[in-house]
Symmetry: C2
Subunit: 237 residues, 2 copies
């Protein structure tokens, strides 16, 4: 049996939800309400000690980290193929999934946190807020929550994150000038990783991703949205 | 033909050198002198646009990122196996290589830079230094060089990096209490990734990694040093 613990179909949760849907795999969906901090519930933390989503549980085996979940799904359910068979093409695909994890996602995530966390916690008393923070397993995440909720990220950091997101979009735009999909001629996990970041950008970051400065990204985005698996994933409640 | 562009057998260069040696693969070694900034030479940047080491070139195909180089070597030269065949064990192995890349290495690298960069650039005039910086392709790397060379990383950042390195060692210590090797019963790419970070720590970070607080790490470190491939790799000029 496959089970996925996930938040709304966005960001890293979208990454693994979309891979499951593309492969046509049945799975039990455990939707956590991140606005209610359910990813830090002690019960969930016994499954994922980092208190993060998504987590895949396959016949009792726990797999964490969305990129590794997708590699695992590819290892176990290779059809339809979302990872090139040729080792060079495969390494290039992994270059993109790694780029998303190490460069694009951390920068975009700061911008997203800055935009939404205050609204998520403003109804909490100081005591309630500190109780929420105390349940977060990772100190790095505690710090990030505290800064986003109570202060703000420094302008210099926000500017640098915006720059990194712009660099990310420009690199993907360049990749899409060389091939129809991010990592080459075929649709792969690289497209899934990039789309998990970029799905909402034309709406939420229209200055960074639009038809003027990223026409190929916009065209690719439309092709992504037209895929039945993408439609089905974004419709997940 | 296999060619590896690399620095001294340490950190990320050590990671791929060691994988090549464990597999008994012949390769042409292109040793770059990082103290002379050769990784930013225009000629090298045409091969690796990020101006970083290591880079593998296999029959003309360029593969970058040490972790991806090792996955590639495993895809193309699967014997001897350094990646578990079982998909769950494989995902757990990748959890460690990802942890090294995203958590352990960035923290350790700041401490390393703080210790060595000033000595590397103090003989340069301001003009010579700026000329070196101008050749660095990544803005993030330019910033890191500038801070390490001319100012210092803020104490708060250094303290946090020390904490992260301590957390990393504690996690590896815990892993080694569950199994003889980092990711389970077998020697894998996870050991290679961790060792690439920890090879010098008993000497350079003795307060963080020693027989008192990390006895299992020290025992594992000794077992690593006893491996013929490790000996051969550390002897690479």
């Amino acid at each position: 049996m496959l089970e996925l613990y996930h938040g709304e179909p966005a960001a890293n949760s979208l990454k693994s939800l979309l891979c499951l849907k593309e492969k046509g795999l049945d799975f039990v969906s455990h939707r956590l309400n991140l606005a209610e901090f359910e990813q830090h519930d002690p019960e969930y933390v016994t499954i994922n000690p980092n208190g993060q989503v998504p987590t895949l549980v396959h016949d009792g085996n726990v797999i964490t980290e969305s990129t590794l979940i997708n590699e695992y799904l590819e290892d176990v359910f290779p059809k339809p193929r979302l990872r090139p068979e040729d080792p060079v093409a495969r390494a290039h695909m992994r270059y993109w999934t790694k780029f998303v994890d190490e460069y694009f996602c951390p920068a975009l995530s700061v911008l997203g946190w800055q935009a939404i966390i205050k609204g998520m916690v403003e109804h909490l008393s100081e005591q309630e807020f500190e109780a929420k923070i105390a349940r977060i397993p990772l100190k790095e995440q505690q710090d990030k929550w505290r800064i986003a909720a109570k202060q703000a990220f420094p302008k210099e950091q926000l500017d640098d994150c915006t720059r990194r997101v712009e660099v990310s979009v420009a690199r993907i735009e360049a990749a899409l000038s060389r091939s129809p999909w991010v990592a080459g001629p075929d649709y792969t996990l690289a497209d899934i990783s990039c789309f998990a970041m970029m799905a909402g950008m034309p709406v939420f970051q229209p200055k960074i991703m639009n038809g003027e400065n990223a026409p190929r990204c916009m065209d690719w985005h439309a092709r992504m949205l037209a895929r039945p698996a993408v439609k089905a994933t974004l419709a997940i409640p």
